[in-house]
């Protein structure tokens, strides 16, 4: 009974319809929160007494770094659900998350590097967070490469789920080991890419941007998942009807 309910909720057709209605609202919420976040982050928040205005990169870098981890966890969780309960929709969400997560990681890396230039004088320092993000990017690329290499998409989705689960166990270990390595090999003199002694005026935009990125992820993952559903269900009646009425 319980199972049936979930399988119906997770039926591709139902998902396609509901997500189509949800996406515009999420997108609007994203734009509003982002505008508020940008206003507080770029206009209202005062310059940092050490880093001047350069710290404002934090409002992108830190939420992007958070998202890179968050999306990986979502991907692994969805993958596990797909594996255990054979819910196809969970597989779809998992694989749709992979490339978005990779983009967030890329964004965190690039903005971290740009933020580091005025702070350290070079574009790249083996800072703990940047190094972790770099390895995380490799993990994401591995997931994407594996998915693309396997022809049968159902098999591919299940293989990816295993890989994501292995990855999600390793991420905390990698994170810890890199932190540890970082403290060994660099004196504490190098300022880390970290929230400057955080003040409420900086915390508000940081949290707003974090929410904004979550909303963004929510509607973009739905958009990607819809494409994936169409692709997988292309031979069913409802998809053909849909395609021909457009």
């Amino acid at each position: 009974m319980f199972n049936n309910f979930f399988h119906k909720m997770a039926s591709p057709k139902y998902f396609y319809r509901i997500s189509g209605r949800l996406i515009p609202w999420l997108a609007i919420a994203f734009v509003l929160v982002t505008l508020a976040g940008l206003y507080y982050g770029l206009v209202k928040a005062p310059p940092d007494y050490q880093q001047g205005d350069s710290y404002r990169i934090m409002f992108i870098h830190v939420p992007a770094a958070w998202m890179s981890m968050f999306v990986y966890v979502v991907m692994a969780t969805a993958g596990a659900i797909g594996l255990i309960w054979r819910i196809k929709l969970a597989e779809v969400v998992a694989i749709s998350s992979a490339s978005i997560g990779a983009w967030f990681t890329f964004l965190a890396l690039v903005t971290g590097s740009i933020w580091g230039k005025p702070m350290w004088g070079t574009w790249w320092v083996w800072d703990a967070r940047l190094t972790s993000e770099l390895i995380l990017l490799f993990l994401y690329l591995g997931v994407i490469a594996l998915y693309n290499a396997i022809d049968d998409k159902r098999t591919a989705a299940r293989a990816v789920a295993i890989l994501a689960l292995v990855g999600v166990i390793n991420i905390p270990i990698i994170h810890y080991s890199v932190e540890w390595w970082n403290t060994l090999h660099q004196g504490p003199t190098v300022t880390k890419l970290d929230k400057p002694s955080i003040h409420l005026s900086m915390l508000i935009p940081l949290l707003l941007m974090a929410v904004s990125f979550k909303l963004y992820y929510a509607f973009v993952v739905l958009m990607r998942a819809r494409c994936e559903v169409l692709e997988r269900e292309r031979h069913t009646g409802w998809v053909r009807e849909l395609a021909e009425t457009k």
Partner: protein
């Protein structure tokens, strides 16, 4: 605060605006890609359906 000051970002204009620019670009790409993919997919599926119908009649 003047508009000039705002864009100058205390001398860090290049770094700050490049970061925000790249962020905007990345966010846009991730919206445009699925939109285009969906349009292409629906087109492909419709064409395939028409072809299938022509073949059977």
């Amino acid at each position: 605060m003047s508009l000039n000051e705002f864009f100058n970002m205390g001398g860090y204009a290049f770094y700050v605006w490049t970061s925000y620019g790249i962020a905007l670009l990345v966010l846009l790409i991730n919206v445009i890609l699925p939109l285009r993919q969906r349009k292409k997919l629906l087109g492909d599926i419709a064409r395939a359906a028409r072809r299938a119908r022509r073949d059977t009649t």
